[in-house]
């Protein structure tokens, strides 16, 4: 298949296609797959007693009737049993995107499953299964090339479920973020058509030319704390933004009793109210453009701290602001989902920035953030943990959140 071409100029006389979504109803148990897909893991339900994998997700094992069904990392390989192309699907979402390839595969894990099928998949071929989040934000199986790392991006069905920066226009909300230079580089390398950086408090010194050396990169004044600045930006760029990467932050140390209320309020303003202001101005246009061709509006990315999930008593006010930002992001995700626009949260460990200067290594540099962001967009993920500290906290939270709370007292 031919690689995706840059979009042509839109015909202003034509109505922008409104977003439709694939069927999104799921059983509660099926959301175990959603959880795995959100993080890009391939996990399937398996009976904890007899060890058999099965699919779809059941409430009891069909082999031994045990109710102990657990989600386990599963072999990703599969063999195609048969394939077809839905030429005239009953569902409007698929009807608009027909022909749509569907296959029946025998998973190496055992069960048979229906999958979204890569164009090369025919009966007998070996493919690799990926759990994806579709446009409805729900987990589905995609069967793509077997070699790990092979790029299925030429398949429009894969593209439909991802938010690849290729040919898309990206807004990075805070050019002063430690991650901004690396993000710009990674996005340009990924083929972003435009990378626009918002510069808060533009009167303060900033080395704009370091960022704008790459093609398609610009820096524009944008102050998320200002209604007027946000409104100006939305008016100029509302219909020209397909991906937002929210890098706004305001980290100040301080405990629950000794910390500054003003600093906490500033943090809330930076990571909750500012992005809220921007989203309210920009997101409706993104939702409306969720089905605007193969490079339509695709994703909102938040650069958060892992302390949004596990507060640090040494960073009490800031952790609370991060937790508020996370809570709000879930509601934003629900709203964006109406247009099939994804929301990706990057949970970072301590950043390699001025305000974490005294914190012990390992710290997260801009390039780690940028690599994660681009990879997460290309795979259509919802949650990523960036850096060793964040991954460590993630694992410990899964095992025992109370232990994490106690241990955070030591930093």
């Amino acid at each position: 298949m031919a690689p995706l071409q840059p979009p042509r100029r839109k015909d202003p006389l034509k109505r922008t296609r409104l977003p439709l979504l694939p069927p999104g109803q799921r059983s509660r148990a099926a959301h175990h797959l959603t959880a795995a897909a959100a993080e890009g893991r391939f996990a399937l339900p398996r009976c904890a007693v007899c060890g058999a994998f099965h699919f779809p997700v059941r409430e009891a094992c069909p082999d031994c009737l045990s109710a102990r069904i657990e989600m386990v990392e599963a072999p990703e390989g599969a063999t195609v049993l048969s394939q077809t192309t839905a030429e005239v699907p009953a569902d409007n979402y698929f009807r608009e995107r027909a022909p749509w390839r569907v296959g029946l595969v025998k998973m190496d894990a055992g069960p048979t499953a229906l999958v979204h099928l890569h164009p090369e998949g025919i009966a007998g071929s070996r493919l690799r299964l990926v759990l994806m989040l579709d446009r409805a934000g729900q987990a589905v199986l995609y069967a793509g090339p077997e070699q790990k790392g092979a790029d299925p991006m030429t398949d429009p069905q894969w593209r439909e479920m991802t938010a690849d920066p290729l040919h898309r226009r990206v807004l990075i909300t805070d050019a002063r973020s430690f991650a901004a230079p690396a993000l710009v580089k990674a996005l340009v390398e990924a083929g972003a058509r435009e990378v626009r950086l918002g510069l808060p408090e533009a009167w303060k010194p900033f080395a704009t030319e370091k960022l704008t050396a790459l093609p398609g990169v610009s820096v524009v004044p944008l102050d998320l704390g200002s209604e007027r600045s946000v409104a100006d930006h939305a008016r100029d760029y509302g219909g020209k933004t397909e991906i937002v990467i929210n890098t706004a932050d305001h980290m100040r140390p301080g405990g629950a009793l000794g910390g500054s209320i003003t600093a906490t309020r500033d943090a809330m303003e930076a990571v909750v109210f500012g992005p809220m202001r921007l989203a309210q101005a920009l997101a409706p246009a993104m939702i409306g453009r969720g089905a605007d061709g193969p490079t339509g509006a695709a994703a909102w990315v938040n650069l958060l701290s892992v302390h949004a999930l596990a507060p640090s008593p040494a960073l009490a006010g800031w952790s609370a602001a991060q937790a508020a930002a996370l809570a709000w992001s879930h509601s934003l995700r629900a709203d964006l989902a109406q247009g099939g626009v994804k929301l990706l949260n990057l949970f970072c460990g301590p950043a390699d920035s001025d305000w974490f200067q005294t914190w012990p290594q390992p710290k997260v540099g801009g390039s780690a953030v940028a690599t994660a962001a681009v990879s997460g967009l290309k795979r259509g993920l919802e949650e990523m943990f960036v850096g060793d500290v964040a991954k460590d906290v993630q694992a410990r939270l899964a095992a025992n959140p109370k232990a994490v709370e106690r241990e955070m007292r030591q930093g």
């Binding site: 049993l81 077809t84 839905a86 699907p89 029946l104 229906l114």
Partner: protein
């Protein structure tokens, strides 16, 4: 343990409420017309039906029990079988045992379905949990894609061709043109069949049934009751039913018939050669071919040769789906599984009129239903014997 026969249990009063592509009436309206036709046909009041077995997908929010009050019935045997294409066989088997054991004297078996412009879509959206979780999200709303995948594999494994499917479809259309109630009124040629647009290859337009509104019904009673009412009747000579058979097959290549077929013929005291008329469940023509194999009319994998060797029209050497089948008469939801039973009942009692197969004494009707995830789950078959069978 050897199966006990149905002895003096008989089926009478075959009823088809003529189908409509779309109906503004409710499912209860269609059920009411079926009950009225049963009562008129039997020469008794519907209040004398002390058993009611009801099949439908579109009756919500009612099930069978609410309909008893709706229709003024007071049954002592009540059954609700929203089981799709296998509902007819299931309904008949249960009713027959209830009558045989004296739990009921006259059971009205009714399948009724309405079809509004959006009924089919609503039905799809609420069909089953596995469909919701693992089928619809793939653009496979409706059975076409799921059956395309099974059909593709069946063709690859057995060498069945679209020409085979076409021959069956053309014969069914030929039969349907003799059935005034069939929705399809135009002749179909093999060329038209082969040239039809693709829906989900190898499924093309004429492989698909037309969903419609309609009702199918019959009565189950004892022979002495039928005689007293002066009704032509057929005995239930044998029956089989099986659900979720061969779960170990990666793709469906056979239905539960293959497991139970010997029992069906043993119970009926006959063989496939002793069957005069066959009505298979034809949601897709390849499913008919699967049934030819699994019900013993030919060996597994040899249905293609079988199809090419026989004539499936009413006057042919293998009269099949004599009313036109669902493919040419229409698919009234759950009624699709009753259609074959009702048609075979007509045939073996000499009441089939323009679709009558001359000398038909013994007929087989099969059902197949519920593509819950990757395969049809339910399968069943009955053999009915008319006078002299």
């Amino acid at each position: 343990m050897a199966r006990r026969g149905y002895e003096d249990v008989v089926l009478t009063v075959p009823v088809t409420v003529p189908y409509q592509r779309y109906s503004v009436e409710s499912t209860a309206w269609w059920a009411g017309r079926a009950l009225a036709a049963l009562a008129a046909g039997a020469g008794m009041s519907h209040r004398d039906f002390d058993g009611f077995s009801f099949a439908s997908f579109s009756a919500a929010p009612d099930s069978a029990i609410g309909l008893t009050q709706h229709f003024g019935l007071s049954p002592r045997f009540l059954d609700f079988v929203p089981l799709g294409g296998v509902a007819g066989v299931v309904s008949l088997r249960r009713a027959a045992r209830a009558v045989q054991m004296g739990d009921a004297d006259v059971v009205a078996c009714v399948a009724a379905e309405t079809n509004g412009v959006h009924t089919f879509r609503y039905g799809l959206e609420n069909f089953s949990r596995f469909s919701q979780d693992a089928v619809y999200p793939y653009g496979a709303g409706g059975p076409n894609v799921s059956f395309a995948l099974i059909c593709q594999n069946y063709m690859a494994q057995t060498g069945a061709t679209r020409e085979d499917f076409g021959k069956l479809c053309v014969a069914m259309r030929d039969n349907a043109l003799k059935n005034p109630n069939a929705l399809m009124k135009k002749p179909l040629t093999l060329e038209q069949y082969l040239g039809a647009r693709a829906i989900a290859p190898p499924i093309h337009l004429f492989d698909c049934v037309m969903p419609c509104a309609g009702a199918e019904a019959f009565l189950v009673m004892r022979e002495e009751t039928a005689k007293a009412q002066g009704l032509p009747y057929a005995h239930l000579l044998g029956s089989i039913e099986r659900h979720n058979a061969f779960a170990e097959d990666p793709v469906q290549m056979r239905g539960g018939w293959a497991k139970d077929m010997p029992e069906l013929y043993a119970m009926a005291g006959t063989t496939p050669d002793g069957i005069d008329v066959v009505n298979t469940y034809d949601d897709y023509p390849f499913v008919c071919m699967m049934q030819f194999e699994d019900l013993g009319f030919c060996k597994k994998g040899e249905a293609s040769d079988f199809v090419q060797a026989h004539d499936f029209t009413i006057a042919g050497d293998f009269p099949h789906n004599t009313c036109g089948g669902q493919l040419s008469a229409g698919q009234a939801g759950c009624g699709g599984g009753h259609m074959g039973i009702v048609e075979v009942l007509r045939q073996v009692t000499g009441q089939a009129g323009p679709t009558q197969v001359s000398g038909a004494k013994r007929g087989l009707a099969s059902g197949f239903g519920m593509i819950n995830f990757d395969r049809g789950l339910g399968s069943g078959a009955v053999i009915l014997g008319g006078e002299g069978a």
